[in-house]
Amino acid sequence: MMASQVEKKPNVYLEDLSEGLWKRTPPLFTALGMCPSLAVTTAAVYGMAMGLSTTVVLVGSTVLISLFRRAIPRQTRIPIYTVAVATLVTITELVLKGFFPEIHQVLGLFIPLIVVNCIILGRIESFAAQHTPARALADSLGYGLGFTWALTLIGAIREILGAGTLFGLRVMPAAFVPWAIMRTPAGAFWTMGILVGVITLWRQRGAARRVTIPGVGLQRMREAAEGGETA
């Protein structure tokens, strides 16, 4: 059924998919889902596991809500969304605990905390609640896989610099002394901050090629000082 719809309107679904996959990928392009992105990305494999667990819940809940979108009363929609997401999270947690105990151990608290990941409620509220299940599937799959690659990238950077390995395999020369700081919370913040900066720089260059004004901060300081004098 889905395949036939895709054939009819290929653009809509591809566009839905691409929005989360590379146009507005959280947490790098839009500042959503920061907590898990910083907390569990000490290694690439944990970032990937966290991303995939979130994707399962995201896809499941958006499709479910989209199916029942006409039956859900507007006033009580948020509690209904929350219960649906929490139920899926509980199922995901029990499956992880049963089949992948090591991953469950590392991700720990951040598995039940998928419930409060702003990406999920955000996609339900702003997309799935108004669109068909097929489009909700494309949209949430894009956001979920986008979140997964972003977390894997952050985990990979921190793992390469912090331990000299990638997915557990040694990639740095033997003489490389691992930067222990990259595995600590400080390293998480810095990796994310620099990544956000690099992406912004790349976008600013690519998008407009507009003239950057050096000393924009100085200008603001002058304005603030003038404002202070007149006040």
Binding site: V83, L109, L113, V116, N117, I181, G193, V196, A224
Partner: protein, 192 residues
């Protein structure tokens, strides 16, 4: 008594929710542009944390645990928190309109603030007594308020500094948070 003091210090400084545990980062980056809003948000989060201990601890230890329904904790906790935040929102809107305007969209988002649900899950996970849970909530809230206030104060100064255009906003905030996290690592020896 000593144990409770250590629990408080541990929750506020050593395992700071924002800078060590990474719980509640969204408002930490979102509403820390102004000192007043940052502190207000910290206090609101603390209030919801204490309230959630008062409600969730009895529900878990007298309801879920005796019945063997612990696996329902995530669903039940988030519903209780959502209801409580709604009540708090109504109170603030009625009595503190200025504070309400400063929070903007972040007040309803306290529900999806992972610090609150995280606190509830940590509290039952560590099997704290009622008193310990209360101290844990107040300590965690104090730590969040402290970090939010520091961050907001630094960002007010950053407004006047010549930050590279690509790092303005979230980028420089994250790097600042990293330096703060580094300094908080210095507390690691205080208590376990």
């Amino acid at each position: 008594m000593t144990e409770l003091v250590l629990l408080f210090i541990g929750a506020a400084l050593v395992n700071n929710f924002l800078l060590t545990r990474f719980l509640g980062i969204c408002p930490f980056l979102g509403v820390t542009r102004e000192l007043k809003a940052g502190v207000g948000m910290g206090i609101a989060v603390t209030a919801v944390m204490v309230a959630s201990v008062l409600v969730i601890w009895p529900i878990y230890h007298w309801g879920l645990a005796p019945l063997g329904l612990e696996y329902l904790q995530t669903i039940l906790f988030i519903l209780v928190i959502a209801a409580m935040v709604q009540v708090l929102e109504m109170i603030i809107r009625k009595f503190m309109p200025a504070l309400y305007r400063a929070f903007g969209i972040y007040l309803p988002l306290i529900t999806t603030n992972c610090a609150i649900l995280g606190l509830a899950l940590l509290m039952v996970g560590e099997n704290y007594t009622f008193l310990q849970s209360l101290v844990f909530a107040i300590g965690s809230g104090a730590g969040i308020t402290l970090a939010m206030a520091m961050m907001a104060a630094i960002r007010e100064e950053l407004e006047l500094v010549d930050v590279p255009p690509s790092l303005q906003g979230t980028g420089v905030a994250l790097i600042t948070a990293g330096i703060m996290a580094l300094s908080f690592m210095g507390f690691a020896g205080l208590s376990s």
